[in-house]
Amino acid sequence: MGGIGKYIVQRVLLTIPMLFILLTAVFLMLRLMPGDPVLAMLGGRNVSPELIEQRRKEWGLDKPLHVQYLNYLAQVVRFDFGKSSRTGRPVLYELRTRLPATLELAFGGIFFAALFGITTGIWAAVRADKTSDHVVRLFHIGSFAIPIFWLGLMFQMVFAVQLDWLPVAKRVSGIYAYTFQPITRFYFLDAILLRDGKLLLDVFKHWILPAVTLGIALTGFLGRMTRAAMLEVLDADYVTTARSKGLAERVVILKHALRNALIPIVTVMGLQFAILMGGAVLTETVFSWPGIAGFLVRSLDARDWNAIQGTIVFIGVFIATVNLIVDILYSIIDPRVRY
């Protein structure tokens, strides 16, 4: 498999200029935006011009734009994204501690999207144009159209407030907030490592609502793609051949049809997973989820330039990585794909 190793190296090298362009664009756009970090931080009231000037000097904002840019690049190539002007901590630290929360939610969203989307998609395709197909398609369109924050709020109202089955928000209950020392910051993993069953249940209860909310929001698109891809292969002669040989219908659908319909399904899931990194903003906000998307929103409010730049590049790296993994999956799913 020398081909695939070479392919991966090529793709990784191609990512570098892409990230460079992304970084430059964000850097310039932020400086075109009204407001700046110093004023945002000190607030608008009675601040002495001397103090403002002093802060500008500290953060290197008094220098000409191209010098600021080159200084920043010099930092970035050493994997230093500077300090957040809002929290005072290094941007990389902020991202590293928030990434597990976002990933835990993103995996949950994709898991439920796959669970609802792929199963209903197959079901609709097998019963194409029957009443159950129409009902499923209506559900897909509905899931696609419902605003995600509204769905999240409804879930909170029903399951947390009215029924009181689940907590409203956050990753763990208040009692754990002071006692629980995270190890990996993946709370599921931490609870298992600490052998704490109660904590695991608590983490699960907090996770399930936002994960299902995200999952339902993604179900529509994935379900429609699955239905379309399955319809195409269900008509193929090799599927009829498999039937004529006496194979059980369930095996025909899962083994002969689904495997051939997987390419578009995996593509959509990869894209959705990548989008979840930045696109879970609304979900993270509604559920007070301490992830990357929430961090980005607060950094934008504070004109926290370093934090915004760092977060966007981080998301860029993530999307590139997921796309690469999807491309590698192609060659595993389909023997005709060779790199």
């Binding site: 002669d237 009829t240 051949t241 498999a242 040989k245 006496g246 194979l247 051939n260 389909d334």
Partner: protein
């Protein structure tokens, strides 16, 4: 007794038009009361243009379609009513080979898995020997060269041989050949046609051979049924039908076959929309010899000589009654 006896076979497809499918479902009748019988070890060719219902007939005979009426008797048992174990047993004895070997082989499976799958489905042991024998029969030798290949690594002719091997591995009695050579180059086509003829002799197979090419049916079949818009218009011994055609449609088809030596009859117009078939004889709008009575009622089947029947009013009485 005939191996396969088809009586009044009707195949329809639901036509769904958006939301209206909710309210009422309309059906397109693709095959309309077709009957034929296929004796053991023989070949019946179903001939016609695309859309005439010949492929639907083939699939319906194997019990692979919904909305099928009539009877399909395989060794006296109605295939359309088989369920469970009996259906699985039938699947073992009747196989299909499709037109396009690029479509009919699962691209994610190796030849070993494609050809061997029927053995696994029916729980038959001793895979390896049977696998090799099936590939050998289909002219894929040495078998070892092909076993570990994916379909995309093979040529069109080799793929079709793989499809044939997969159909043969269970020692079936009936093969439905759905235009098995239409997608192949002429040189490869000859090889496959010869293979099919040799296999029939060697294994005493019965073929339901679906084709649009009269020359192919002449080469391979003992009997022929010509179909037009879902009905059989003429059927009988191949030589009898092709050398002494009676129905104007058969004559027209034959006249355009290369090297027929007949004066070409070019049919005007297209095949009508099967959702709205013309009244009377379905062929009358395009028939060069159509008369007034052709529009009035569909012609009945007339037996001209034992085994040779035709559906045309001219065969009933040559001239229109005054």
């Amino acid at each position: 007794m005939a191996l396969l006896e088809v009586k009044g076979l009707t195949v329809s497809y639901p036509v769904a038009v958006g939301l209206s499918a909710f309210i009422s479902r309309r059906f397109l009748v693709a095959v309309d009361r077709v009957s034929f019988s296929l004796p053991e070890g023989r070949t019946l060719a179903l001939v016609g243009e695309s859309g005439c219902g010949k492929s639907s007939t083939g699939l319906a005979v194997l019990g692979l379609l919904e909305h099928v009426g009539g009877e399909v008797l395989f060794r006296g048992k109605d295939v359309l009513r088989l369920r469970g174990k009996a259906l699985k047993e039938f699947r073992r004895r009747a196989q299909i080979v499709f037109q396009d070997p690029y479509e009919s082989l699962n691209p994610k499976m190796k030849v070993r898995a494609i050809v061997g799958e029927p053995l696994r489905i029916h729980g038959i042991r001793g895979d390896e020997g049977r696998l090799r024998r099936a590939l050998d029969l289909a002219g894929l030798s040495p078998p070892d060269y092909f076993l570990e290949k994916y379909p995309h690594e093979l040529s069109g002719g080799e793929r079709q041989r793989v499809a044939i091997a997969a159909a043969l591995i269970l020692d079936p009695e009936l093969l439905v050949l759905d235009e098995p050579v239409s997608n192949l180059d002429v040189s490869i086509k000859a090889g496959i046609m010869n293979l099919l003829r040799d296999l029939q002799e060697e294994l005493k197979l019965s073929y339901l051979f679906i084709t649009h090419d009269l020359a192919d049916s002449f080469f391979l079949s003992h009997e022929v049924a010509v179909m037009y818009l879902g009905v059989t218009v003429e059927q009988g011994e191949t030589e009898e039908v092709l050398l002494h055609p009676v129905h104007p449609y058969t004559k027209a088809l034959l006249s355009v076959a290369p090297g027929s030596g007949r004066e070409k009859v070019i049919l005007s117009g297209d095949v009508p929309d099967p959702l709205h078939p013309p009244p009377g004889c379905r062929f009358h709008p395009r028939c060069p010899a159509a008369e007034k009575r052709c529009v009035e009622a569909p012609p009945g089947e007339v037996e001209l000589s034992p085994g040779h029947s035709v559906r045309c009013v001219k065969a009933e009485s040559p001239r229109e009654e005054p």
